[in-house]
């Protein structure tokens, strides 16, 4: 080539290579594998408990999941929503910017003639898609182990109606999408922290700290007025999925709340990326 033409790499190729890089990290793979095991272990536990006739004492979703296999993925996701999935999102976001910075590889990317926004978008895409993969994987192993271990055709809802298999599958899908969106919201905040530091551990600590402090604040009745702005407020709304007819209000509200956190986290991360030097 005689003239130097700066050509941007096609975005799909960049995204694919980012995804491949994230998925090649051993900790990502181990994390995904452990998450996929969660529904299986829960299914085994519930099956053993049912066989021993220990039905009493369960509350809420746990009381419904016995002999109700299609509910297992929803139950497992709502349990993982409390800590495991936020941890995964925070870990991915920590690796995306702070981790690269710790290895000294972020400096190279910042020096390259690539827009900072584009760089952040590619990193965010990596976090978002692996989160989605993790949740879908849990839903899949949940469905399989639920149907095999707990049995039941279709799904018994909290309202006492029975849904056919396809409708139940739809409910699992709604749960997966909702949970993913909520984890994205937390991961966006984690990504913003990640843009500020070069220590991945700080990102994980701050993100989980946010989850725990939100939980504590929500438990204090005198601070009820804070509830609407806490990131964890809508995480419980996932149980609306098992009602019949499904109640969309809390789910939509939770989705909007997650979007607000995505905007906050995304804009702070972008602003920091614009001025970051290495």
């Amino acid at each position: 080539m005689s003239t130097l033409v700066v050509r941007r790499a096609p975005i799909t190729r960049v995204l694919r290579s980012e995804l491949r890089m994230v998925l090649r990290r051993p900790r990502t793979l181990i994390g995904l594998g452990l998450l996929a095991l969660v529904p299986v272990l829960m299914g085994i536990g519930i099956a053993i408990a049912t066989a021993n006739g220990e039905e009493g004492g369960a509350e809420g979703l746990a009381a419904l999941v016995i002999g109700n296999g299609m509910l297992l993925p929803i139950f497992a996701l709502s349990i993982a929503m409390a800590m495991l999935l936020p941890l995964t999102g925070a870990m991915l976001a920590a690796d995306a910017l702070a981790g690269e910075s710790a290895h000294g590889t972020l400096r190279g990317m910042l020096m390259a003639p690539v827009g900072r926004g584009r760089l952040l978008a590619v990193k965010a895409f990596g976090v978002a898609s692996v989160t989605l993969i993790a949740v879908l994987l849990m839903a899949l192993t949940g469905i399989i182990s639920g149907v095999l271990l707990l049995g039941g055709d279709g799904m018994l809802t909290a309202s006492g109606t029975s849904l056919p298999f396809l409708d139940a599958l739809g409910r699992v899908l709604i749960t997966a999408l909702y949970v993913t969106l909520q984890v994205w919201a937390l991961a966006a905040v984690a990504l913003a922290v990640s843009a500020f530091t070069e220590h991945p551990l700080i990102v994980v600590v701050v993100s989980l700290g946010l989850v725990i402090v939100s939980g504590v604040l929500a438990a204090i009745p005198a601070l009820d007025w804070l509830d609407p702005v806490l990131v964890t407020t809508s995480w419980d709304a996932v149980s609306e999925v098992v009602r019949d007819p499904i109640e969309w209000g809390p789910l939509v509200e939770g989705g909007l709340r997650a979007l607000c956190y995505l905007v906050i986290g995304g804009s702070i991360a972008y602003s920091r990326m614009l001025t970051r030097d290495g």
């Binding site: 809420g60 009381a63 006492g160």
Partner: protein, 357 residues
């Protein structure tokens, strides 16, 4: 540097937009709306139209806000925007779903049978017929709405002032507000009871109980969503899920009724006074006061007296020694020898009522 300024602008704008969004989600829609303009109506005419109105096919979400200070037995403990959903087809079939955490209690009346589903223990209870009789009695009484309305309003007027106090919006529908205020001679803790009545269907949409010295209602139950129109008929049928035990509720109910009657007899229930300062007095078996209440979790079992000591304040008087439990809307007095007085009144009225025995 220019880039630095851009960065700051982006961060500030994004954060502001996000926080504004979060706050917007929280604030109820139409909170500051001007009250709708409705044709004026007298209290009698309003009550009459409520009695006359047939409940149309509707779907709604119910909120419950309880600021009384003590949990009310029988009502869902959860306080919130959305504790229940109600559906009815306007012809006697209906469905109520009560939220209990992530579980649910569902009542379905499909025209002939009432089904009761409880997701916590996956039980179905079935009630067949039997309950129509009570409904018919009331229906006979209400067959002449004009007289009934006059009677109701006159009965209320004996002790209270009834007025239509302007209009408002409840569940995004224009409503008339019917306000019942106790007459100054009434010795009660309550300031007023406010009923919001839908201007179109004349269905009461909200009930608020306001106590003295409180700006916020002590108790509020009402619709947050309300829409009329034909409902999905599938809502009014219930098929017990496979593998779930169905118990017949009717036989058990009779036993419970007899139990209740004997309990009432031994309780020596009396009503003292009338109107707002009505006090119910009674007698609980002394054994109950020393009965052990099983406590959940690690806490040791407590007997009723020590529970009363913890909840209430010890008082002495001509009646002996007792414990007073006060809430914003009512007071209860339990004496050590098992006499009980309850009413929406201050403590002194309870003591007077016990003295009248």
């Amino acid at each position: 540097m220019d880039r630095k300024r851009t960065a700051l602008t982006v961060a500030a704008a994004g954060t502001a937009a996000g926080v504004a969004g979060l706050v917007l989600i929280a604030s109820p829609a139409g909170a500051d709306e001007t009250p709708p303009v409705l044709p004026p109506v007298s209290a009698e005419a309003l009550v009459q139209s409520v009695i006359q109105a047939d409940v149309p096919a509707l779907a709604g979400a119910v909120e419950l806000r309880n600021d009384i200070g003590l949990p009310i037995p029988g009502l869902p403990q959860a306080t919130g925007d959305n504790v229940a959903r109600v559906y009815t087809d306007g012809n006697g079939r209906g469905r109520i779903s009560l939220k209990q955490g992530s579980g649910e209690r569902t009542f379905v009346q499909d025209g002939t049978t009432t089904w009761l589903w409880n997701s916590a223990n996956r039980s179905v209870t079935k009630f067949t017929g039997g309950e129509d009789k009570d409904g018919k009695d009331t229906a006979d009484k209400l067959s002449d709405p004009a007289t009934a309305a006059r009677e109701v309003v006159e009965l209320i007027k004996k002790d209270s002032t009834v007025a239509v106090d302007g209009t408002a919006r409840v569940a995004d529908r224009p409503v008339y507000q019917l306000v019942l205020t106790p007459k100054p001679t009434e010795r009660t803790l309550l300031r007023e009871v406010r009923v919001s009545i839908d201007s179109q269907t004349r269905v009461p949409l909200r009930l608020e109980v306001l106590a003295n010295g409180q700006s916020e209602p002590a108790l509020r139950i009402g619709f947050t969503e309300f829409s009329t129109g034909a409902q999905d008929p599938a809502l009014f049928t219930f098929t017990p899920p496979a593998g779930v035990k169905v118990t017949e509720g009717a036989a058990k109910d009779k036993g419970a009724k007899a139990d209740q009657e004997s309990l009432f007899k031994s309780a020596n229930l009396k009503i003292v006074g009338e109107g707002w300062d009505t006090v119910a007095t009674g007698q609980v078996p002394a054994a109950l006061l020393s009965a052990q209440i099983p406590q959940s979790g690690e806490r040791a079992a407590a007997d009723v007296t020590s529970l009363l000591k913890r909840l209430g304040k010890e008082v002495n008087g001509p009646f002996g020694t007792g414990y007073v439990i006060s809430t914003k809307v009512g007071t209860a007095l339990v004496t050590t020898d098992g006499r009980v007085a309850v009413g929406a009144v201050p403590q002194q009225v309870l003591i007077d009522a016990l003295g009248q025995k």
